[in-house]
């Protein structure tokens, strides 16, 4: 175990954490505005990977248009899921919404399985150059994934904290019933939130498909759960918490694989969730909000 090895693993952790973070943000955004957990979100990520595959193979698009194609597609998918499946249940018991979300997820997996019975591999869309700095190998793909994810996170942070739409999202998370009194069309902002979360999941799907060898209709399940854990660990509903949680989870997983048998990875990840929630039920940055007077 030398410094080079640790540095190498840290890079891998950043890459994995970036992908988790992009997905975790979708969970946390939706939870923020609707206090609902969108369990279909991992499958939106999966659709994003397949959209990138279609763009690359069927439409023969280069990287940037393929990425945008995937993000636009999953944004639309996110918004459509909200309008068709969740909006009619806005006043229904919370359990109905959760079951519906699980159902939408299984629907997406099954539909994708019907369309793509065999695992696919996304062709290399970018020239993958690797550099070695004193024994640490860095690939251009790795750097691209990390840089692009950080860029998208900064962009989202800007949207949520610096724009009027973001202001409306945050107001909705405080008290949805009162937001219409500001003249804000709440339904439109909620749909937009799902679209934003969908776009980020599409980007994550694209990058995952480029970084890892195969994509299949069930790839979103475990990755989705992991991103969900990241969001909860960071404090669900909290944007910056989701990013922190994702990098912690990515780091923990890479450490486990580096020092323990790789089969311990998910065991440790889920143990982390359970232990952390015992001590901080609201996550790292989550707060118990004082009751309003």
């Amino acid at each position: 175990m030398d410094a080079k090895y640790i540095l190498q693993q840290a890079l891998n952790a950043l890459q994995l954490g970036s992908i988790y973070a992009l997905i975790a943000l979708g969970y946390t955004l939706v939870y923020g505005v609707l206090t609902m957990i969108n369990f279909a979100h991992g499958d939106v990520f999966m659709v994003g990977a397949f959209l990138c595959f279609s763009a690359a193979v069927l439409l023969e698009l280069p990287f940037v248009p393929a990425l945008l194609f995937s993000m636009a597609g999953t944004a639309l998918l996110g918004a459509a899921i909200e309008r068709i499946a969740y909006k009619p249940l806005r006043r229904a018991p919370r359990v109905s919404a959760i079951i519906t979300a699980l159902g939408v997820g299984i629907f997406l997996e099954s539909a994708m399985l019907a369309l793509n019975p065999y695992p696919k591999s996304i062709p290399t869309l970018i020239d993958n150059v690797t550099w070695t700095f004193g024994g640490v190998t860095v690939s251009s793909l790795q750097l691209l994934i990390i840089a692009l994810s950080l860029g998208l996170m900064l962009l989202l942070d800007f949207v949520v904290y610096r724009t009027k739409t973001g202001m409306a999202m945050r107001a909705i998370s405080w008290d949805r019933a009162l937001v219409p009194l500001m003249g804000v069309p709440v339904d439109r902002v909620v749909t937009l939130t799902f679209a934003l979360g969908g776009a980020l999941a599409g980007a994550a799907g694209t990058m995952y498909g480029l970084a890892y060898p195969v994509i299949d209709p069930y790839m979103g399940i475990m990755v989705g759960w992991k991103a969900f854990i990241a969001a909860v660990v960071g404090g669900i509903g909290n944007i910056r918490g989701a990013m922190i949680g994702a990098f912690i989870l990515g780091g923990v997983e890479i450490l486990v694989v580096a020092f323990l048998p790789s089969t311990y990875r998910d065991f440790v990840a889920f143990s982390l969730l359970l232990i952390l929630l015992m001590f901080r039920p609201h996550g790292i940055l989550g707060k118990t909000r004082a009751q309003k007077v």
């Binding site: 405080w174 008290d175 009194l181």
Partner: protein, 239 residues
Amino acid sequence: MSEGEPILSIRNLGVHYGGITAVREVSFDIWPGEIVTLIGSNGAGKSSILKAVSGLVPCTGEIRFLGRDLKGLAADRIVGAGIAHVPEGRGIFGNLTVLENLALATWQRCDAKEVQADRERVFDLFPILRARGRQEAGTLSGGEQQMLAMGRALMTRGRLMLLDEPSMGLSPVLVREIFKILREINQAGTTLLLVEQNAHMALRIASRAYVLETGSITFAGSSAELLGNPKVRAAYLGT
């Protein structure tokens, strides 16, 4: 008092929650420039009337604002039509700063210069809000939150402002301050419909009042008439 078209005209308003009737067959008019108050005890249906007007709860009957039927209009469109609602308990967004709370209320406006001028006007009315601009609204005191809620309503440029218990939970000094500012807001051209349990203060600034009991209007008249009515005095003024 009743010259020209009413700004708000309510006919046979009913509000029902499941099987419970909160408001039944309520009709009244408000004319531009007035301050009208609805008084009544807890659960009399005062807040329900305001919520029906601003589209927060479904209702039966007819609500006309400046001659326009509000039926079927979503709450955010009603704000755009010119009705500002300062809800019970202030309803500020505690996770947003004071400035963000004020900015959110201008969602439907695209006159940036006018928005800025209006914000200055709000700060002139409530100087403490200027000092607290970048502070999260949840950290404000009750009185400051009430001021922010009123400031926010002004930012929507509503011609009619509905106020639900603005004096609730505030010290007598603050209540007097709030009511003084309400009068200033009215004199600057905004019509006010004020729901209050604090009938003393409400009748002092309102020209007319309606007394609401279990969802129906039981007494209507000028503030002077109500103040002179022994039954009203006994029930709502404690004298």
